[in-house]
Amino acid sequence: MFDLDPVMLARIQFAFTVSFHILFPAFTIGLSMWLFVLECLWLRTGKPIYLDTAKHWSKIFAVSFGMGVVSGIVMSYEFGTNWSVLSREGGNILGPLLSYEVLTAFFLEAGFLGIMLFGWNHVPKGVHLLATGAVAFGTLISAFWILSANSWMQTPAGYEVIDGVLHAKDWVELIFNPSFPYRFAHMVTAAYLTTAFCVGGIGAWYLLRNRSVPHGKIMLGMALSLIVWMAPMQLVIGDLHGLNTLEHQPAKVAALEAHWETGSGIPLILFAIPDNEAEENHFEVAIPGLGSLILTHEWDGEVRGLKSWAKEDRPNPIIPFFAFRLMVGCGMIMIALGFIGAFLWFRGTLFTTRWYLRSMVICWPIGFVAVLAGWFVTEVGRQPWVVYNILRTEDAVSPVPGGSVLTTLILFVVVYFFIFGAGMYYMAKLVRRGPDETPPEPDEDEVDLSRRPMAASGNP
């Protein structure tokens, strides 16, 4: 299996590093915005509970943002280290989009992060709020550019090819390419939902443990008031995204539904083991006719099957098929938890219904699972193309020997698991410690770690 194929190794390396990286933006996009909202609430109401909660979560934010930054630096170089032909042929287009991301987003985030994290008692309150807002807004701008670049590679527009090199023709058409609005809306919503489930899950955990109860109520309440409308909205956005994909990347849709034959009134496959060699599904469980309705919104809508592409021009359906089901499953659980929570809240028993609180605790990472699954659907589903119908993945790879790629892949795996483990451990520690109930003024000049306050209520 491992004959040091540089293309496969480069793909695995990119998939590993980008999957690891996306976890942090998916969390910090929503978290920074929530911190901004908390700070606004504190300034408006003057209630210290909002400040305590914001300060507590900004520590967790700092850890995850740090990991996002360092794993992101890797991404900005990996286009060249592993995909140098893509860089050379697509640089005219991808380069400016990524540079705009650095200029409009990364600097904004980095420039104000120091004030946001360390400036609480040192800059005026308005300036601090502005800094938090700048970081939150920066994460959104960042998502805008990177999703524009990714969407352009999926659904290229506004370009021309001159001597084998891609050139920009119309920047507006290029940036707002056909799949971009859907992908951007889908990802930002996913990021907010991911954060909401983390915050809500941890709030529920405090409630179950009967500690920091007022803070826990704020966390769960605010999370739920977002989930209850955003999770259903995400289903609608996802559906529209699917229609768009059917129009521009029909092979991806065929793969994620594991449809081999072209036809109308096709079934919805609930479970199967797609077999790319035999071009058929094993152990298929399907509902007749429903597939066309979902994909095309018509009972007899025609959907192209995988067999209508040559084997080398279509993705292997196995990963998109299962990843898609995983993503949709997570989405359904999110919608259910949102509705049940709203119902309990309406009845006035939300904060005391232990089975519901426990479900929320268990589901804290559900957003991350859904985000990763979704990216696997869209990225594996666009194969064999890195720029759709223009440049094949196998032609885009760098002239680097397989041994080098394997060595660095192992290095990344070791380093990432090491820092990921440590990061999770420290974040869990912060969660266990809980918010400080009384604001820790006066200002200390020296850092004395031995005197650092442990949680008053101790570790569980």
């Binding site: 300060k55 700092a62 850890v63 943002f65 740090g66 930054v69 360092v70 630096i73 890797v74 900005s76 170089y77 286009f79 060249g80 280290t81 140098s84 860089s87 050379r88 640089g91 005219n92 991808l94 380069g95 400016p96 990524l98 540079s99 705009y100 991301e101 650095v102 200029l103 600097f107 985030e109 980095a110 420039g111 104000f112 992060l113 120091g114 004030i115 994290l117 360390f118 400036g119 300036v127 090199v165 760098s398 002239p399 680097v400 020997p401 080098s404 060595t407 660095t408 290095l411 990344f412 380093v415 820092i419 440590a422 990061g423 420290y426 200002d443 200390e444 020296e446 850092v447 770690l449």
Partner: protein, 336 residues
Amino acid sequence: MSEYLPVILPLVWAVILAIGVLIYVVLDGFDLGLGVLFPFAPNHRCRDAMMNSVAPYWDGNETWLVLGGGGLLAAFPLAYSLLLPALYLPLILMLCGLILRGVAFEFRYKAETSRWMWDWAFAGGSTLAAFVQGAAIGCFIQGFEIKDNAYAGGAFDWLTPFVIVTGVALVAGYVLLACGWLIMKGDDELRDWAYDIGKKALIAVAAFILIFSIWTPLMHDEIAERWFSLGNMVMLSPVPILTALSVVGVWYALEKRWTYVPFLLSIVIFLLCYTGLIVSLFPFIIPPDITIWDAAAAPKSQLFMLYGAIPLVPIILGYTAYSYYSMWHVKDHGYH
């Protein structure tokens, strides 16, 4: 006008990127230099203070490196696509070094029993990153083997004695910057120590400048010719003269225990060495074959970015300066 664009735009972008790289080298230079110095600090309290002095800024400092990567891809895609495969292993080592030292800022304060681990991650990661950056400069002087617009050399072609020396040289240079930073930001104990180490680093830096001034022209006849042909020699003479004066100036400032001059004048040394490097290599972006015009992106792409860069870069410099200013006297960054 439009027929001059393909000539002018690459020059403009070369200048912008050169300034960006210089800002990176100075900002992350003292930042990484602190990491190199970290294990040698007099005591734990000093180490905490060193880390605190840069905690609010490190992320901003490293963003200039991301700009370097993104900007090179955007303005000179061919150079990006040649350089990164050529420096594949060292660059990924550098990235891993930056990861370890970057997370150390956050993890170190959360850790209690495992703090020593993040001390080492910070020191080791910083040193590794500084060394590789120096080695990369050496690789530029050395040149790259290019065939048909693709890197044609092996995975370890970059690793030569010259490159190892440039790597060590940049580590020394970053230490000098870090000493200048600590003199500005540290308490009395740290400052005493930084004045002392700063002198040693300065001697090392001066020695390395001398070595490269001899070694580089010996390696490449074209570089020798550029510096030593009669007209150029006169025209370029301010570069070595000013460098020598700056070295003496830093020494004097360290002797007199001035506060801001050592850092600022060390930046001038960096600026002059950088100028020397550009004089030696211009107009090649991937020596010895690829010029900035060969590697340039389409004028349309370079122009599109320029429209953004012209307003955005001054704004970025503005709020970066504000961030440094507003957090300058804050000593306690570790509470979070």
